[in-house]
Each structure stands twice: as structure tokens, then as C-alpha cells.
């Protein structure tokens, strides 16, 4: 299968998982972050579930010379911890808390609540453009 087909299947499965798990609902995600309110632990179960196939996948990855449908592995480094990483994570976490949305659910919600999701997605792209301009 061609690479775009593999990516589409992965995206479909990812979007299915987001919607099925309740993570497409920003209120539920925000409730996970709301330790002093009506806390909802669902997100922790989602994270736990997602770790299992991926932990196995990393073990398999180490035994492969190249991926099944592409020429080589193209993976980021794992050790560099700097101010950009930390400050980016702080800003992302703040936005996540304020809206209850991270990029995956925001995009998935384009199908579920398009009027609201389009606002978040456009703002998100605006933030990405701002970063690109600022770091040019």
C-alpha cells in the first residue's frame, strides 16, 4: 500500500479512538485537568490504553532495519531538554487547560461540532503561524 494510504488508515483509527474514548469532548478533557472540581479520570485510561500498543511497537521497531511501507525511520532525538521544550510545553498546557482541546481532538471535532471546532483549529493554525514568524 502507498504511504498516503497507510497514513489515512492510521489517522482514521486515531480519530475513531479519540471519539470513542470521550476525548473529543473538551469538557471531559478539561475535567481531567480540574483536580479541585468535578475530576474525571477518563483521560488517564486513554493514555494507559494507548501506551500498550506503542510500548510493543517500540520493541519491534528496534529489531527492524526499516519500516514496512517506507525507506527508513525518521525519528526525533530523545535527550535534548532545553528552554524551548519547557516554555513550549507551559504555553501548550495553558491553552489545553483554557480550551480543553489539544490538536488531535480539535481536528477530530471538525466532524462533530464544526462551528466550534473551526474556531479552535483556525486559532491553532494562527498560533503556529505566529511561531513560524517569530522564529524566522
Amino acid at each position: 500500500m502507498n504511504r498516503a494510504g497507510v497514513a489515512l488508515i492510521a489517522g482514521l483509527l486515531f480519530g475513531t479512538g479519540l471519539a470513542f474514548s470521550g476525548m473529543a469532548d473538551p469538557q471531559r478533557v478539561q475535567s481531567f485537568l480540574d483536580l479541585f472540581g468535578n475530576w474525571d479520570p477518563t483521560l488517564a485510561f486513554v493514555m494507559g490504553g494507548a501506551m500498550i500498543p506503542m510500548a510493543i511497537a517500540w520493541v519491534i521497531q528496534r529489531r527492524l532495519d526499516k519500516p514496512f511501507a517506507d525507506a527508513h525511520f525518521d525519528l526525533p532525538g530523545t535527550s535534548r531538554i532545553d528552554g524551548k521544550l519547557a516554555s513550549g510545553a507551559v504555553l501548550f498546557g495553558m491553552g489545553w487547560g483554557i480550551s480543553g482541546l489539544c490538536p488531535g481532538p480539535a481536528l477530530a471535532d471538525l466532524a462533530l461540532a464544526p462551528g466550534k471546532a473551526v474556531i479552535v483549529v483556525l486559532a491553532m493554525l494562527g498560533g503556529m503561524i505566529a511561531h513560524r514568524v517569530a522564529t524566522r
Binding site: L13, F14, P76
Partner: protein, 146 residues
Amino acid sequence: MIPVFPHAMPVEGFVGGLMIGLAAAIMLLGLGRIAGVSGLAARATGLADTGAPRVVAAAFILGLPLGALIVSMFTGGVVTHFPDSPLPLIIGGLLVGFGTRLGSGCTSGHGVCGMSRLSRRSIVATAVFMGAGFATVAAMRAGGIL
């Protein structure tokens, strides 16, 4: 159901999480890439110069709403609760977009893929953005805007 947390969906959450993890595993073992949504979204829209080929990134990103649509059709609708005001969506979206680019990842790339790889970098990033999320919502609650 968890008695103390009547709204929680532990079973759906876990099963949905397995699907997300399987999707990320397909990206890793099939295409040799991290299923990081922020990076792929930036790549698909031409806002990143390196990463997956644009057609690969665009196909993955397109799959996200299509997957959600499939669940919605088979389950009779997926419930979402958004704030009435667009303000938190705009401010939150801007911060998420800028922050994920600056920090090189979001809940999927650092959280799911990086932590399962035991990447020190991703574990730190995930701890920081989760901490910032907890603190932000606590501050909103203390300030009476939640």
C-alpha cells in the same frame, strides 16, 4: 463505572486508547514516523519545513475527523460540550498552536509516542504541559471563570 467518579468512562477510554496506540504503532512501524498531531498538522499546512511528506501528513490529518465521523454514525452521535463564548477557544487555540511548535509536540507526540519510548525529553515535556494544564484550570476555578 467508577462509583466515586460517575461521569468517568474507563472502559471506553481504555478501548479508545488502544485504538489511538494502534494508530500510532501503524505510523511508527509502517512509515517510520511519530504520530504527532501538531507536527503533522503543521507539515500538512506547509507551516513546517521538515517532517513527513506533505501528502502523508495531509492523509493522516484528514483521517482524524473522518474517524470521528464514523464513530458518530455508528453510535448515533458523539456528545461534545464546548464553551458558549468563542474567547476560550481562540485564546486556547493560539496558545496550543504556538506552544506545540515551540515545544516540538503535543499529547500524541510527546505523551503517547515519546513516553512509551521512555524518551527523557518527552517525559519532561508531558510532565510540564500536564502540570501547566492542572495549574491553569485550578487558577480558572479560583478566579471563578470555570
